[in-house]
């Protein structure tokens, strides 16, 4: 199996190389047979990479610890699920996962567009397979998943216990389904530029790819936050860690693209801008993969660790040069057909939303990479942490939130003042009233008032849009309101799905605002029977006991929460002693409601049963996860294929 995996990878490199050459020569010499052969080579490459992936999974399942990757990430008594998810708990396996997803996507793109886009597809094959070659080469030359140890350990080191968590088991694949997905739009963009077919057909070809990738990326980022929250035990969910930023930056760019592409489809404008956004999104996805896997920012002297850095830097430079060079070459053909007519128009609100999203991305990039930059420039590593990111991004995201409400209400082309007054009257008043209400109820910063007011404003705009559309439809179609809402949504899925996504974003904004502004925390060292107060709760420490389950030693404490005199729930924070790990892991106890989360960490204890707890009261956190689910639902609505062309629509995936 080791040999099979290894040989598959080497063969995949060769076949992908053939696919690149055959498709390019085929299109230049106009030999369709050669392009067809290149397409078959795409399928063959996929088969080979799938074989390599199954080989590694088989090695993991069968505890073949002579393979370094298996020994590092698995152990005999690791649950089977985590033996499988070990595939993405280390660098080499993650790269293999990246490659296999890319291959399957490429095959899907090739298969679903067979017989269409004849001018574009050869270049699409070439770009996808060249990217595949790069990732396979990285595995063969820098991070080999099938590398052998000079000896065979009897047991492996096992996956880090922190990663043995359901959210963590599905978070990386989600993120990668998103990251990798943007390769296909990038490939089509390059194809359109190279072939000169710059009409909107390539935009239609990638519509689904962008929304699906964005879907997975959003879920991936949210799951990552959730994992940090339940597993890391510091009471928060987002630390502006380079790894988190790496997944967030492409999301910002992709979000910008999803908005600005509507203007291109409608008015043939912003064509260069959209090209650049797609190229940048792809670049940031590759860069993000590199950032999460190399540790370049967090470790003190990172560049020397492996030849991974130069390989990624080289590939990124090449892809950027290719993309930007082609854009520059085609610049005369990418002239906008229309122009923006007024500052008060939906186009312009989208334009500003784009500007802000892109600037936000680069501000985060700047903060993330500053340690590396400052070290390269004057030899001193200077870091900026969460205080920097919060300061910079809070005003940015408030501005975005405002535009989220403005965009849907403002007319295309040119809005008139009376129409604006009519559109904004109720949402504006709702937002204002909410701001005032928050100001009366809680003494807090202006940012909080603005955030809560804007959130209410955006929700009101969405409700108003649904209400107006549904009422008109109910009258004209003779439906009741519920039918009309469904009918309305199904008729214009992207628009109304988009509104649902906006509501998800608002829920998240509310959760983030509430939990970061109103968080409370206390520490207490208690003997059994003693209590500590937080908010309306009185927590009584009952008892501690220890036991062993499935080879894991557990120290468990039980704490009862009282509200008034009534016991309302019990929390059981623990520490787990995993075999082979020096230190116990923290198992946080969380009691969650729509209002707030009570988050309890067992910080320490001694034999006399005295225990120290850290307690957080995190308001509204649950709204972040609910917002994530609503956002996923909205995106799913956008992805439903249109019925009238369902046959070809399916093939569009």
């Amino acid at each position: 199996m080791i040999a099979l995996g290894h040989i598959s990878l080497i063969a995949a490199l060769a076949v992908a190389g053939y696919a690149v050459l055959a498709s390019l020569i085929g299109v230049w010499r106009q030999q369709p047979a050669l392009v067809g052969s290149a397409r078959n080579a795409v399928y063959a490459t996929s088969a080979l990479v799938v074989t390599a992936t199954f080989s590694l999974l088989w090695l993991l399942a069968n505890d073949r610890f002579e393979v370094r990757f298996v020994a590092d990430n698995s152990r005999i008594d690791q649950p089977f699920v985590y033996k499988m998810s070990a595939l993405w708990s280390g660098m080499a396996g993650s790269l293999l996962l990246w490659t296999v997803v890319l291959c399957l996507y490429s095959s899907l793109a090739a298969w679903s567009n067979r017989g269409r886009h004849h001018a574009l597809m050869p270049y699409v094959y070439a770009v996808c397979m060249f990217t595949t070659m790069f990732f396979v080469a990285v595995q063969l030359f820098a991070a080999d998943p099938f590398e052998m140890l000079p000896f065979a350990p009897q047991d492996g080191l096992g996956m880090n216990p922190l990663l043995q968590n359901p959210a963590m088991a599905i978070h990386p694949p989600n993120l990668y389904l998103g990251f990798v997905g943007f390769t296909i739009p990038f490939a089509f963009a390059i194809a359109a530029l190279a072939s000169g077919r710059l009409d909107t057909s390539w935009l239609h070809a990638i519509r689904r790819w962008t929304i699906i990738s964005w879907f997975f990326l959003s879920i991936g980022v949210t799951l990552g936050a959730q994992w940090a929250y339940v597993e890391l035990g510091w009471g928060g969910y987002w630390g502006w860690d380079p790894v988190e930023n790496a997944s967030f930056m492409p999301w910002l760019l992709a979000t910008a693209y999803l908005h600005s592409v509507m203007i291109e489809e409608k008015k043939q404008m912003l064509r260069v801008w959209n090209m650049l956004l797609i190229i940048a999104t792809f670049t940031f996805c590759i860069f993000g993969t590199f950032l999460t896997r190399s540790g370049i920012v967090s470790s003190v002297h990172a560049f020397t660790v492996s030849n991974l850095g130069p390989m990624f830097a080289g590939f990124l430079a090449l892809m950027l040069a290719l993309g930007l060079g082609l854009v520059a070459w085609r610049l005369p053909q990418l002239k906008s057909a229309g122009q923006i007519e007024s500052l008060l128009s939906r186009e312009s609100s989208f334009l500003f939303n784009n500007l802000i999203l892109v600037v936000a991305c680069f501000a985060i990039l700047w903060g993330t990479m500053f340690p590396v930059l400052s070290e390269a420039i004057n030899g001193v590593k200077i870091t900026v942490g969460p205080p920097f990111f919060n300061r910079v991004t809070v005003p940015i995201f408030l501005a975005l939130l405002a535009l989220t409400g403005v965009g849907p209400l403002i007319a295309w082309r040119r809005a008139s003042w009376p129409s604006l007054r009519r559109a904004f009257r109720w949402p504006g008043l709702t937002g204002l009233a909410t701001g005032v209400l928050v100001a009366v109820m809680a003494t807090t910063s202006p940012f909080t008032l603005i955030s809560m007011g804007l959130s209410a404003f955006v929700v009101a705009t969405v409700i108003q849009e649904f209400w107006r559309g549904a009422r008109a439809r109910a009258e004209s179609h003779g439906e009741n309101l519920a039918q009309a809402v469904v009918g309305l949504t199904m008729r214009n899925k992207r628009r109304y799905g988009g509104y649902v996504i906006h509501v998800g974003i608002v829920f998240m904004a509310v959760g983030i605002t509430g939990s970061s502004v109103f968080q409370r925390e206390v520490e207490a060292t208690l003997r059994p029977g003693e209590t500590v107060d937080i908010g309306d709760y009185r927590l009584q420490y009952e008892e501690m006991h220890d036991f062993t389950t499935q080879g894991v030693g557990v120290v468990s404490t039980s704490v009862i929460a009282f509200r008034g005199d009534q016991p309302v729930f019990r929390l059981v924070p623990q520490r787990h002693f995993h075999p082979g790990q020096e230190n116990p892991t923290t198992e946080v106890a969380i009691w969650s409601s729509l209002q707030h989360d009570l988050y309890l960490v067992l910080a320490g204890w001694d034999p006399s049963q005295t225990a120290t707890f850290k307690v957080y009261l995190n308001p509204l956190v649950k709204w972040i996860w609910i917002g994530g689910a609503v956002l996923a639902l909205g995106t799913a609505i956008c992805m439903i294929p249109d019925r009238r062309r369902s046959v070809t629509g399916m093939a569009n995936y």
Binding site: F352, V380, K381, T586
Partner: protein
């Protein structure tokens, strides 16, 4: 083309050259300047120097009181946790032949163990003890680079000589 049939478009074409464009450029420039200001002042007020232990010890007197991040390895056996509250802990980190004592109050990451690569953030006190407000210890997904034979030995995993491949 088709669009020029709209009266608004014709009107826009007739309007004084580039009025809209100028408005957009002004707004875009304003936004960019505001962002640049945010980033600049944010950097100025929150930046933290990142040193290794030996670099800190070389300029100890200059650095007292400035916000710092310091990287080093935890000296085995030096982690001491207060019995009173389990939250006050002291440990020593070392790098390049220099050592630095650290005090920290709070929940330390699970990964803070003997020999862990730690990054402490805080200030160097006048007494030479580093008062940390944050402690990071090497993140789980980055364990791999130093994987080697010794690591297996240290982890206590039984090793048998490899006889065949």
């Amino acid at each position: 083309m088709l669009r020029s049939n709209y009266p608004e478009t014709r009107q826009a074409e007739r309007s004084p050259m580039g009025l809209q464009r100028r408005q957009f450029v002004i707004v875009a420039v304003l936004i960019s300047v505001a962002m640049a200001y945010l980033v600049f002042t944010g950097m100025r007020d929150t930046m933290v120097f990142y040193y290794t232990v030996s670099e800190v010890m070389m300029q100890q007197d200059d650095l007292a009181g400035t916000p710092l991040r310091v990287a080093g390895k935890v000296v085995p056996g030096t982690i001491e946790i207060s019995n009173l509250n389990h939250l006050d802990r002291t440990f020593i980190i070392h790098e390049g032949g220099a050592t630095l004592p650290v005090v920290y109050h709070g929940i330390a990451p699970d990964t803070l163990v003997d020999n862990a690569e730690a990054v402490v953030e805080g200030k160097l006190g006048a007494d030479g003890v580093f008062e940390a407000t944050h402690v990071l210890a090497k993140c789980p997904s980055k364990y791999e680079s130093e994987t080697d034979y010794r690591k297996y030995r240290e982890a206590g995993v039984e090793v048998r000589a490899q006889t065949s491949t």
